[in-house]
Every structure is written in structure tokens, then in C-alpha cells.
Symmetry: C2
Subunit: 332 residues, 2 copies
Amino acid sequence: MRAIASLQALLMCLLVASQPAIAAAPDPLPSWNDGPSKQAIVKFVADTTRQGSTTFVAPEARIAVFDNDGTLWSEQPAYFQLLFALDRVKALAPQHPDWKTKQPFKGVIEGDTKAVMASGEKGLLELIAVTHAGMTTEEFSKTVTDWIATAKHPRFKRPYNELVFQPMLEVLAYLRANGFKTYIVSGGGIEFMRPWASKVYGIPPEQIVGSSGKVKYEIRNGKPVLVKLAEVDFVDDKEGKPAGINKFIGRVPVFAFGNSDGDHQMLQWTAAGGGTRFMGIVHHTDAKREWAYDRKSHIGTLDKAWDEATQKGWTVVDMQKEWKVIYPWEQK
Amino acid sequence: MRAIASLQALLMCLLVASQPAIAAAPDPLPSWNDGPSKQAIVKFVADTTRQGSTTFVAPEARIAVFDNDGTLWSEQPAYFQLLFALDRVKALAPQHPDWKTKQPFKGVIEGDTKAVMASGEKGLLELIAVTHAGMTTEEFSKTVTDWIATAKHPRFKRPYNELVFQPMLEVLAYLRANGFKTYIVSGGGIEFMRPWASKVYGIPPEQIVGSSGKVKYEIRNGKPVLVKLAEVDFVDDKEGKPAGINKFIGRVPVFAFGNSDGDHQMLQWTAAGGGTRFMGIVHHTDAKREWAYDRKSHIGTLDKAWDEATQKGWTVVDMQKEWKVIYPWEQK
């Protein structure tokens, strides 16, 4: 075995060694038009990986953080985690006859979005609580996995985990191929993302940072479990993002990508690190292929972060102009 | 450049390939006597890395967690983080004349441990608060780095980061050499460990899980900072350890090492994962070279976890019998 393995190693190395001195590198970002954003990303990677240059970043410091909703996948007509919660309410309704007459549940069951919205943040938190709490983390993970496998997006009639941005998948892979550790830093729930995000983005669970609810450790029929409580533990949004990065990662990222004011502080925090840095924003400009929204949006509002990006020369991606395709299924 | 690199690769590979089919592996745990604990650790690594065996663990699932205080370094006469806090109080006293007459500060300044202890948990939390809060995370990191560089342990008259257990350093390196990701999961503060633990243990900041205080994001002279507040964010001890592992890592470890009842739930959580698992406890049995304590200790009490370990056949390390040396400086 060992001898054969060594032989294989030798042959592989001979192949590597026999490559021409200058190999034509394939385009690492094929779904990006050759615009300012693609150029900025490629320049950043070249600068930070050039041995001996003043812009070089040591491999262990190559931390790249990405917001999820609106940055790696779509977030319209509402955060997908909220749509998950609404679906859960409908699924659980038979066991809760009182919901038929009680808002915001009544509104959810009847598809009366107005009534649901009228219940305000308190109502929405109530929805999250009853659909996210009470069960064990293992049980919750299963409900998410089942939902991802069966639910379809209202506009595209496809599973939600197919509504990821192909150009951003290429950025993730490109950074990893250059020794970067890619993280998700999302306002969404950790427990909601981990069951599917690892497969879709190639980011392991331990590199997914997000909001969390409190849990209670207990022994159920001799087996330890973590029971999800209806109590908020940490909100990984706005000011929470630098706090989450500091707590979970303990290093200042050199690369950060977001799409809304919820990512503003994460981008500021990354920029303040000094040295070679990349700050990027996905600007939703494509009403036809995805959605177009920014300053006055009910979700993913991009206003203050956009102003600072313009001022400081951060990268703002015009998805309509710069992305050849939005979703993986559009590829030839 | 490229051609040279390829040539080097080729040469290296030739060396690898030309090794004998069976190479005599050097002892990965030289500071361990050949007792039951060493045998259990070596067997676990062999079992989990044997391709095709039923005990094989996929590389991405090779998560190993270690408590810090009493498991990777000593914790007597008190948790080193508390000793750090006491030193900080003395250093800050000149700016706080009122402390001369106010417990527990008066006791700290006068070295009256009784008075300090008499102030109870409330008093100790007050000490932690005034010595850990108010400054930015960057400023706090610097005070820790300075303390580690200058403070000396009362008994050994050496820097605290030299009081790490040589046999455990070998376990960390041995696991990493076999594709395991090593984590610290400690009741101690994340911000207290990160400035020095990465260097000492070879564990990067993002793999150090611990207790944390709340922080506030703000802009100070145009620069974003995180200011440490006197409010507890998360206590990573007892039931908190499985919760911390679930939150930060999102996988159930296959290997866990602790030393006290504070690690009991972490060990149970690891054991419950099923499949090939290793649960280990460092039993402090060496009053001469380190300290001897367990059931009735004021710190690092080992009682319930010890009983379950005996019952379930977990590994309990008798440091006096099984460790050739305790600290790195004792090595020949």
C-alpha cells in the first residue's frame, strides 16, 4: 500500500513538475464580466498572495467574511428564514386550533400578509419563537433540512438553496484556492444556515457565524440534548457583526462582502484593520433577473453603507452590468 | 521561479517516494509513560484514521476539544485569570484612592485574601468587571500580553504561559498531525486566552472558545472599536460548554479532554455523539511536581465527572504515574 501510494505521489509530482514554466491560468471568475469589481477582486488576491510584496498577507490572516441574505443568496420577497417560519406555522397549525383566531398566526394561515405585518416586530418575534423554540437543536436541524428539500421559492419555483449567486460562489472558491478562510457572518440564524449552507457554499459549520437563540442543556431519556429556548442569545447584525467577528473569529478580516446597511459596521471594521483590504457590496440592480432595490427597500436597505462605499472607494457590484448570470441554473 | 518551484516539488516527492515501505514512526507522545492513557490515545488515533475501517472518522469531523485551566495548564493556587485580575487591581489602585477603604479592592491591595474571598462571588465579579471592562478589546489584549510577559507564578517563579503541560502539548500536536482540528473550550475568557494561547498551544484564535463579556461597537476618533462592557455575554462552563461547542463549532467533537466537573457536560456531549469517541480527564495526583486535588478542591473540583468516567470507562490520566514530565522546562 505505502509503496504504491508513494509511487502515485511520485507520478503526480512528475506531472506537476513537467508543466510549462508559465501555465495559462483559467479564468477564476467566469460568471463576471470584466468590469471594475472583477478587476478589484483579482487585484486584491494577486496583491495579498504575492510573496515578499508590501501588500502580502500571511496565510493565517487571510480571513474573508460574507453576509448571507442578499449577498450569497436572494432575500426577496422576504428573508427566506421568515418564509421558513411561515411555512412552519402552517405545518404546526393543526396542533394549535387557537391560532385560527389569534394574530399573527391567523394571518399566516389565511395568507393575510397585511395582518401579519400589522402585528409588528413583536408578532414576527412570536412567529420565530414558536417555530424555532421548544425542540432540540437536532430536531430543528431536521425541520430545516426537510424544508430546504421540499419548499419552493414563490417566484422561481425552485428550492431556496438554488437561489444562490453563481458569481459569488466563484469568489468563495477563488479565495479558498488562494489560501483564504471563508466565513459567513449573517444576521440570519446559525442553526438555520448550518444544515444546508456548508454543502451549498463549501463553508464548514464552524465558519458560519450568525444570530442565535439561547439553548438549555438537559438529559432526555439518558441522552444529552440542547433544547432551543424562545430567548434571543445574540443578534449578529449591524453593530453585532464586528462583535460576532471578534467573538467567533478573533481576527479582523482582510476581505468583507455585504449588500446592505446591516453590513455597514462589518465593512467599517474590516477597513479599519489597515494594510491590504477589500470591502465589497452587492448592489441589487437587476429587476429582471433578480430584484432591484437599495435606499428605500423594506428589506436589505442599502443607504449609509452605499454612501461610505462611494466616499471611500469600496467595491460596489452592479449585478445587472457585472454578472453574466445570477443563479447557477442559468449557466450554459 | 515556477520552474524552480516545480523542480523542488519533484525532488521532495522523490524523497517521499524513496522512503522504505514501512518507516519506523518516532514516539508521538515521548513525555507519556506507556500506561493505559497513552495506549487509549494512540489506539483512538489509529482507529479513527484507518481508511475503510468501521471506526474511521472523516477528516472534516475530526474535532478535538480541550478545557484549558487544569487540562492544558495549571490552575493553582487560583485560576490564572483571577491572579491577572488581582495584579490589575494593584496596578490600577493609584487611580482609585477609594479602593484603599473599599472591599474587595482593599483586601487585594493589602494581600488580605480572606477579605477578598469574604466578598463572595459578587466581589469577585466586581474585580473582574473593573479589570476587564471599559477598555477596548485591543487595549485589553495589550494588558494581557504585558502581564504574560512580566508576571511570575508565585510557586514556580516563571511566566504563567510556561506552566503548560508538556504531555498535553504532545497530544495537541499528535492529533493535528493526524488531521484533527484542535479547539480550546474553556470557562476562561476568550479575550484573556487569545493573546497568548495561540502561540503556546498552536491553536489559532478562531479555535479558542470561552466565556465572554458583552462589547459595544463605537467610533473613537474616526476609528471603529469594540469597548468591553461589565456585562456577562456567555459563560462557557458546565452546561455552557455543550452550548458553546454547538454555537461556535456546530459539530459534536469526537475527542474531549477536561479535568473537572466543569467539563462533565462537555464530556457527556462528546460521548453521546456515538461512533468512535475519546473522553479524557486529567487527574491532578502529583502534589510534588504540580498539585494533588479532586473531590474536595476549592478549584477544579473533580467529583461527578470522575464517577461517570469510572462507570463508562473514560480515560482518567494519573499525572503522577503517567507523565514523565509535567512542564516543558523539565525536559532533558
